[in-house]
Amino acid sequence: MPHSSEIAALKKRIHALEQENARLKQPLSRSRKGHSVSVPEDLKPLFEAAEQTVGAYFKDLEMDPTLAKIEIHGQRYLLVRASALSTDFLATIQKLYSDRGLPEAMAIGKNLLFDLAHVIGMNDAKNFHQRMHLKDPIAKLSAGPVHFAYTGWAFVDILPESHPTPDQDFLLVYRHPYSFEADSWKRSGKHTASPVCIMNSGYSSGWCEESFGIELTAVEVSCTARGDAHCTFIMSPPERIQEHLEHFNREKGKTSVKELQYTIPTFFERKRVEEELQRSKQLAEDAAKAKSDFVANMSHELRTPLNAILGFSELMQQTPLLEEQKGYMEAINSSGSSLLGIINDILDLSKMDAGKLTPIREQFSIPHLLYNLQQMFLSQAKAKNLELLFASGEELREPVIGDPKRLQQILVNLVGNALKFTEKGTITISTAVRSHDKTSVLVQFTVQDTGIGIPEAKLNSIFERFNQGNNGIDRAFGGTGLGLSIAKQLVTLLGGTLSVESREATGSTFYFSLPFPLSTAQNPTEAAPHQVILPGTSHHLLLVEDSKINQKLATLILERHHFKITVANNGQEALDILKQQQFDLILMDIQMPVLDGCAATRIIRNDLHITIPIIALTAYALDQERTRCIKEGMNDYLAKPYKEQVLLEKIALWLSAPTPISAPSGPPLVDLTFLRAQSGNNTGFITEMMRLFIEENPKGIAELEAALAQHNLPAVRKVAHTMKSSVVFFGLDKHIGAALKQLENVQPEDQLSHLLPGIKATCIQAVSELNKLLSRPDNPTL
């Protein structure tokens, strides 16, 4: 049984332990005396509530260095030495950015601190509001200064002129009787001419911004670190901070903001500028793309009719004309050509603006290119009685790698200009090797004329768009004023700089140097030899083109050159026809209804396994269009409008090219068994029948086509009926008998146009087969 005194001692010990325990459990902030923030009377109730909330929040502060833990409700806090975020930090930044000078280095450092504190303030507020379920902006904001005090940033004294409203009128004027930043400066003994409480401004404006959902910034207008009585801050929306500062200055009897050496944080300004930049960049890119698309589309729209104008006028020039008419036709043709030139110029510029123009890399010979250039301009020079001199260095014999098309375009432009602005004398085109090593060569191109020259004042602006040497020159010489601008951009694109030297009335010299890697191959690629297509060699071409006028034009040109043309109105028709008969080459438009050229080509190559050359014909003269064509399996590309000669050359080139593997030829359609049996194999009889079919069938097809197009059902029935009885003689009923029977019995509700292509293709093929049979002198099949 223990002694009562022992029990009393034990009780006392227990009491002491309980007291110790209670003391240990006691929240850290319990030691506070009075309020953690001082506010005007009318705001007091609000802030007392905030004291409760924040106090409750911080009651659970736990510290355990063995776990590196300073924690409230499981959220880690950090203790940071105050001067490390103020004096020390700014001193280090000042050193790092010493090359920028003190003011700029300080500005960089202060901006960093402001940004950092502003973001921390916003995040702390967000977290705290969530944790303590604060919804009301005033409650959210009131917790700020209290929280501020609890975390050791500063003690806040809110001044009566404040009116914290969640709008543009938001104004908070407050003091920090204690600020960790000012404290850290005062302790360091460093003198400062400007306020130093940057993080305080950043953190508190961040907190309030998050609380009210409006952008806020804060500026310290007086600072104890500078020797002022208080650290005083003004917080407002960034748009109005200047206004409040000026108001504050007037109160203080100061006239300018500068005089007080405030540091207005640039956070919002920078953010805005960056956003603006980003937006402008996007806008510029969108605009360039829209413009380029627009121009490409426009050029397509313009080229298509122009194609017809140029093509038909070219054709018309080849028909008998009166002298007077010849002159008119020449005018039409040359106007059309120059219009085409202008469209091409504009298209090039827009491509360059949109960054869509990429130089190609292929092997070519510079002397060869110059020779072509000479041929091109010889007649023009002769007509103006000008001397055209080409001086090409011997050492340029080796083939180079580059973009001959663009180089030629530049030179054509410069030589064309020279011819235009020179009335007498000489135009010299010279090349010189500036430097040369094993792998590359730097070549200078010079185009010199003895023309009117360019006034010195204008020398700098001639490369600008829509600019010409002097006012009124456009009326005298014509042109868009785009040529030199394009030439300059093209030279830049190829890696050089176009320069000019000129004296008025003496002449101009344009020159540029371009680097070319040397080709390792021995022989320069020669242009394909101009194959002359033998007349009478009746190659069968498939023209896939939706525009009737272009169909007619191409057909006229090609038929005059003894090609046989089959026309398909779109990709689908082409496929149908290709399933029925064989061709030597396909001319394929790109933009077509039903099935476009690229899609059709894909099917021709992948599904029909037809390997004959396909040449794209398109009014879209963009490089990516060309790439797309080639990628889909086309062999070549021709931009509309095309010249007759160019079209023929392309066709000749591809017809003379070795065909990779010819597609397996289908069995012949024509079956003469019936005619042979019935006629007792009478050759004369059969030949007559074949001739008549060749003559009559296309008419029938045309009638059927027209009848279907006009939806003339009686005519459809009649033609189908007639055709049905005629195709039987050649065994074609096996192929199209059923289709013709359907047409023969066509009803108003039937949609039978789709039958036409098959019928037509079969008949065309049959006619072609019959022609072949007839052309054999020995007629072996008969």
Partner: protein, 255 residues
Amino acid sequence: MKLTTLIIEDEPLSSLFLGNMLKTHHPDVQVLSCEHSVSRAIMAIEEKNPDLIFMDIELEGGTGFDVLRAVLPRDCYLIFTTALDEEVLNYLRICGLQFLPKPIDYLSLNEALQAFSTRKNSAFYQQILDNLRHTLHYNIPSPYLYHTEGTEEKLLLITDIIGIEESSSGTYLVLQSGIKINSNQPLKAYELLLSAYPFFRAHKDCLINIHAAAGLIPGASLSVKMKNGYRFPLSAKKKEALEVLLFQQNAMLNR
């Protein structure tokens, strides 16, 4: 002596083919001309008076029947050429007219010319032409059915045929008089041939002329009683349809 002929045909290849076929296989036939339209055909026939006409049905400006409606010489023999159009073929068959289905082959051409040589000046062929003229003029179905029995040809008045019955040896046509005429055509062929006439397939073994029927005779074995007393078997499945047809007919007659 050469036979003269006209080829009335709107399709040039068919006309060339026929011309050449005749030239090759029947050099005795002289083609006077080929005509492609109704109007030219009429003129050519009136002008040239050929022995033989190859007549296509579909022509420019109308049909071969339009030509014949305008001009049908008594001493001219007709061979129709036509693609397979059942309606037209039935008409030609019923009328007993010669035809060559297209494309013409030399065997059928031979046959047609053979028939021509036996028929051309016969009185019976004149009957055929008269019937044709008559039907074309009034634009009506042929009242006569062309029938051959061995080498004997005749035209039977269709209203006189009360039914056609299947027999062990083929089919026979039952006439109003009760006379039965043998035929080598199957019942099915008659059903198709006479589809434009009021004939009804009362039973798998018979085709009856509705106009000649009097009424049904019920009993263990159903039958149709004809107005002349003749009875045709009636299939149970057809009973109702026949009742309807007879009712309609009576209603029409009583109106």
